[in-house]
């Protein structure tokens, strides 16, 4: 707890000897008090801007989607037709794409991210090398997603296509691989999303692993655990709250991610269960259609945006709850 205004009692206590000893003021001058209060109110106003923004965003999105909510109701979530000419809208394709792309990306990124975090926190390599790897991971986080999208279009997707084609030829009987890869599609989008999530998961996991108290490491090694027994059985479980929170934050980020996905997913509003065919996500649909949309389509897009917001909010709250719930209370 921070002490609150102890100075007021100091200043207000009238002491006769104050003047005698050279202190002439008993109260602070009004200018001083005005400045003090004024500054406090300034920060309050600035702080409230955040809350106002959140409420305004929610209101704007909700108000915009209201006509579509009235018109399509909850059917919107399960219908997969998106037909502006007939003013018939269902967002299932985009919702499915959002969930599938982000969950699959997470599936790839979590083991890689947590593995790298362990690799750069535990003393497997000399400190200098681990530091360089750490800096590189931070750098990866700084690359804008539009540039990852550009790389995905010009380098990754062409390089990936023969691989995906052979996957289709061998495993085409599985619905997930049932279509011929034609370029942009769900699979490359998943990979580029995983690349974007890696630095988030790695750096949050690294931070929590770093915070595991040295006493616990001593305890683990002290009973004769090898390095990896300690890591797997003691250190990672002790850091699990932070790691799980980081994974959920990354999931929230993945669902809202727009640019790289839009550029490589193909933006097809036709539903297909195959990962090799073009797909869609809510955010890529927004990026593609919002500029030219009018009338009911705007409202339908806002409805989709509202769903996206609810999804990301839920995931973010879940992240905060998990971190608090699983937190290791050690000393």
């Amino acid at each position: 707890m921070r002490s609150r205004r102890p100075q007021i009692s100091l200043w207000r206590k009238p002491k006769a000897q104050e003047t005698a000893s050279g202190f002439t003021q008993r109260r602070r001058p009004w200018k001083d008090r005005l400045l003090d209060h004024g500054f406090r109110w300034l920060t309050i106003v600035l702080a409230s801007i955040v809350g106002i923004l959140v409420i305004a965003i929610l209101l704007v999105v909700f108000a915009g989607s209201l006509p579509a909510i009235v018109a399509y109701g909850l059917d919107f979530l399960i219908r997969s037709d998106w037909d502006p000419s007939n003013e018939s809208y269902g967002a299932f394709t985009a919702i499915y794409g959002t969930l599938v792309s982000s969950l699959l990306a997470l599936l790839v990124a979590v083991p890689l991210g947590v593995g790298s975090a362990v690799f750069i926190t535990e003393d497997i390599l000399p400190y200098s090398i681990r530091r360089i790897i750490g800096i590189m991971v931070e750098l990866l986080a700084a690359i804008p997603s539009v540039i990852l999208g550009l790389w995905a279009i010009f380098v990754m997707e062409p390089a990936l296509r023969p691989v995906l084609t052979s996957v289709h030829q061998r495993l085409g009987w599985i619905p997930l691989f049932s279509t011929q890869p034609i370029g942009p599609g769900m699979a490359p989008a998943v990979i580029i999303l995983a690349v974007m999530l890696l630095p988030i998961i790695t750096s949050i996991s690294r931070d929590t692993l770093d915070q595991v108290p040295i006493e616990l490491r001593f305890a683990a090694y002290g009973v004769g655990s090898s390095r990896w027994q300690s890591i797997i059985k003691i250190i990672i479980p002790a850091a699990i709250s932070g790691i799980a929170g980081g994974v959920l934050l990354a999931l929230g980020r993945a669902m809202g991610e727009t640019m790289a996905v839009t550029m490589i997913i193909g933006n097809s509003t036709n539903f297909s269960p195959s990962l090799l065919s073009p797909g869609n996500t809510i955010s890529s649909m927004l990026a593609n259609q919002f500029g030219e949309a009018t009338g009911p389509q705007v409202s339908a897009l806002m409805y989709a945006a509202l769903i996206l917001m609810i999804l990301t909010l839920l995931v973010n709250f879940l992240a905060e709850w998990v971190v608090r719930r699983l937190k290791l209370r050690y000393h």
Binding site: L42, V60, S116, L139, V146, S226, M259, S283, G291, T312
Partner: protein, 311 residues
């Protein structure tokens, strides 16, 4: 608790029988032991994961640096982009536009963010308003950037709020600011909370008001992390694209004013990389190079800044 009695218990734990219940345990390193075999396996696995995690970075950076760097020319920095289908041209207006839009965003987000951060770290207590601000910050940080763009689009662009103009540099700056604010707030809050409370008490004990304590003692003490965090926020904003598509939009011409549509590097990369024309794709690649250099420079500057200020 009878400890004396324990002393007379048959000492099952201390005798050789107990030790025999464990594997014998020579001190020499034995690579065939289970934990050592597992250790090698996991170490190799983690190394592989770390390599896979860095590989895309190296590939992306290498591609942008070498292929994009090779495209650098004087025209690029002096000329306007060529319309789709035509070759040549530059990205000069987009470079200028990125500076303008990011500048507007910083001018809004940094004061608001630092003020909000000061409130949370120094003034907030356990009341409804503080909870509102705290959750507001977290929620805003989690709002997808495309939705921030749509929000400003509906609020400012379609309503023609700014002097009757629709798409504009200011609208783009506002959208970027919405994204930057929670970052700056968190940075400020964390930097101030890292300071020892002793510092505040020391200032107050000599009779400094809260205002003086904050502006003369705590803020200067937390300057480095706040500056570092804000700079990184700016770097991140400079590469943001989604909030700008519907706000700043794009322009083939030099910036015509703060209330007119404006080109930015990131939107240029987006628009030109999905075009089926080789010349435009090249411009997108060149613009990517400029963005990456810009971000790398800011990051480097930040590390330098932190280094010098810490002494």
């Amino acid at each position: 608790m009878d400890i004396k009695a324990n002393c007379h218990l048959p000492h099952a734990l201390a005798n050789d029988d107990h030790r025999k219940e464990f594997d014998s345990c020579p001190l020499e390193y034995n690579p065939l032991l289970k934990h050592n075999r597992e250790g090698i396996f996991y170490t190799v696995l983690a190394g592989l994961f770390a390599t896979l995690a860095i590989l895309p970075l190296l590939l992306v950076l290498g591609y942008v640096m070498f292929r994009g760097g090779a495209l650098m020319s004087v025209e690029l920095f002096t000329q306007l982009p060529s319309p789709p289908g035509l070759s040549g041209g530059g990205i000069a207006n987009a470079i200028l536009g990125t500076f303008i839009v990011t500048g507007i965003a910083s001018l809004i987000a940094i004061p608001v963010g630092i003020g909000g951060g000061i409130y949370i770290a120094e003034y907030s207590r356990v009341d409804l308003f503080s909870v509102f601000v705290h959750y507001g910050t977290n929620v805003l940080a989690g709002v997808p950037s495309i939705i921030c763009g749509i929000f400003i689009y509906l609020l400012v662009v379609t309503t023609r709020l700014l002097f009757g103009e629709s798409f504009s540099a200011v609208a783009g700056g506002l959208a970027l600011a919405v994204i930057m604010i929670p970052t700056v707030i968190k940075t400020t809050d964390e930097a101030l909370k890292l300071l020892e409370d002793d510092l505040r008490w020391a200032a107050m004990a000599v009779g400094a008001s809260k205002f003086v304590t904050i502006t003369r003692v705590t803020l200067p003490a937390a300057f480095t992390p706040i500056a570092t965090g804000s700079m990184l926020g700016i770097a991140r904003a400079a590469g943001e694209t989604a909030p700008l598509i519907f706000t700043a939009m794009f322009s083939f011409y030099w910036p015509e004013g703060l209330f007119k549509p404006i080109a930015t590097l990131s939107v240029l990369v987006f628009n030109y990389s999905i075009m089926p024309y080789e010349a435009q794709n090249q411009l997108a690649l060149a613009a990517s190079f400029v963005i990456v250099m810009l971000i790398l420079c800011i990051n480097l500057l930040v590390h330098r800044l932190g280094f010098y200020l810490r002494g």
